[in-house]
């Protein structure tokens, strides 16, 4: 078997092994806690911790009468949320990058605006989400309304890590390399594109990995106050209401949400491997 194929196979097996191990630990925890009757940290029963097979079965069944199977519904909701995340991610990444480039060139602007950009992250988006939704939606063209506002919220969570890391990355260009460029009488633009940007790529990608997750979180959170039913956020609220009756549906939704987050992360990871072939592992 050729090397990359066997490596991919080994990795797939490792992932499967981990999943089986996690499921095993879950059931073990349930078994120990129910047998011993412990109530700390919380009481274990079929509502608080449904069995793995209950959750698995729930995927195949409809949540309500005359509806397609849960997995189909969740799939479509996941797509809806993913659209918001991707658009929000793209928007936030571009804004973050551009802001980073601008701030990198002016220490004055940095000192003026950076504290507020940092402080902006202490504002809980969930709190301003309803206002963003009310404000943005009317400004969007028809088909973009609803999910478009959520994409903006996702962008809000995405831009900051990209901004900070772009800034650090652009400033990380070796002083001697900068001097070299100056001996070529290179103008600011050349220095930017030929030196600083390539030097900043490892940092930017480290941020993009964080941003990928942030955009999914932003999308889900953004859906909550928007009352949007078509996404995972809506599904979470929905199944939360039925939790005492059918806990496994919320768990199933969360598993799908987790998978979406991981998928996004893996995609960015893959893009990084292609673009930055010698990305340092532990940057930023």
């Amino acid at each position: 078997m050729p090397a990359p194929l066997s490596r991919a196979l080994r990795r797939a097996l490792a992932v499967a092994a981990v999943l089986v191990a996690l499921a095993g630990l879950w059931e073990l925890y349930i078994w120990i806690w129910t047998t011993a009757g412990w109530t700390w940290p919380f009481a274990v029963d079929s509502t608080s911790m449904p069995h793995v097979w209950t959750i698995a079965k729930a995927f195949g069944q409809p949540a309500q009468v005359n509806q397609p199977a849960l997995i189909t519904i969740l799939f479509h909701k996941a797509l809806f949320t993913m659209r918001e995340s991707v658009v929000g991610f793209a928007l936030g990444a571009v804004i973050g990058f551009v802001l980073g480039v601008v701030l990198a060139h002016s220490r004055l602007l940095q000192r003026g605006f950076l504290p507020y950009l940092v402080a902006s992250q202490t504002v809980p988006i969930l709190a301003i989400a309803p206002m963003v939704v009310v404000w943005v939606n009317p400004k969007l063209p028809g088909p973009l309304q609803g999910w478009g506002a959520v994409a903006v919220i996702a962008a809000y969570l995405t831009f900051f890590p990209v901004l900070i890391n772009t800034l650090r990355g652009l400033q990380s260009a070796d002083a001697r390399a900068l001097e070299l460029m100056r001996t070529y009488a290179a103008g600011r633009w050349s220095v930017l594109w030929k030196l600083r940007v390539p030097a900043s790529l490892p940092y930017v990608f480290a941020a993009l990995k964080l941003a990928a997750t942030a955009s999914v979180v932003g999308a889900i959170i953004g859906e909550l106050p928007s009352g949007l039913q078509s996404g995972l956020g809506g599904a979470i609220i929905n199944f939360n209401q039925y939790y005492s009756i059918e806990p496994q549906e919320l768990w199933a939704t969360n598993i799908v949400a987790a998978l979406v987050g991981i998928l996004f992360f893996v995609v960015v990871l893959g893009a990084e491997k292609i673009v930055v072939r010698r990305a340092p592992e532990n940057v930023a």
């Binding site: 602007l109 969930l126 309803p130 206002m131 991981i262 992360f265």
Partner: protein
Amino acid sequence: MTAVRRAADWGPALVVFVLVIAAWEGGIAAFHVQQFLLPRPTSIVQSFWTERHTLWPAGWYTFKEALGGFAVGSTLGVVAATLVGRFKVVGTAFMPIAIAANAVPIIAFAPIFDVWFNPLSPRSKMAIAAVLCFLPVMVNTLRGLQSASPRQIELMRSYAASDLEIWRRVRVPTALPFLFTALKVASVLAMIGAIVGEYFGGSFNALGVLINSDAQVFDFVTAWAGILVASLLGLSLYGAVVLAERIVVRWAPQNRGS
């Protein structure tokens, strides 16, 4: 540090602050922006003061949740990093899981935490904050513990130092700057986690619930005042960590004075 340098450092930020607030205030008046969407700064500050009997205690209540979660999550993170650092076997199996776990939107689990720990109890929100803090602290502390240079290790071996002594005298001090970087990130996440957690249900003593209910009745002025409270509290926790860092990690490059 001379007064002039201090002014140069903080001046621009101050100028921006004044300009933005002035533009905000003036813009709302000039363009007749609906008050209910984006209130004037003066209205917000006014509400911040007049509503203080509900907002401030609520803020404190939520802050305690965040603080508790911050403490628990960070401690567990340090413990986990130490275990993984000492026992390499645990590490190689654990790291990919940790990386994947980092990509999971924890917030989706907020309702489940509510089920586990009674939505009206602060513990459910503390749990969210703790989970959000755990990962950055663990990953960064671990990186710090592994960042001792080979020369430093060789030096200790030349003193016939035991593993424990190397740990104590080299690895732990080297890890401290990394730990504090993570704590700064965690401090912000903790407060946000607590508030977002409260969206799904919580006691009316809680800030997040208050902000949400104000928004729902379109009382945006008070909602913004509540956001201001949340933001100030988050910044103060962050500031406390920065202060602690200055004291504990006096040797880190950013803290080196004269």
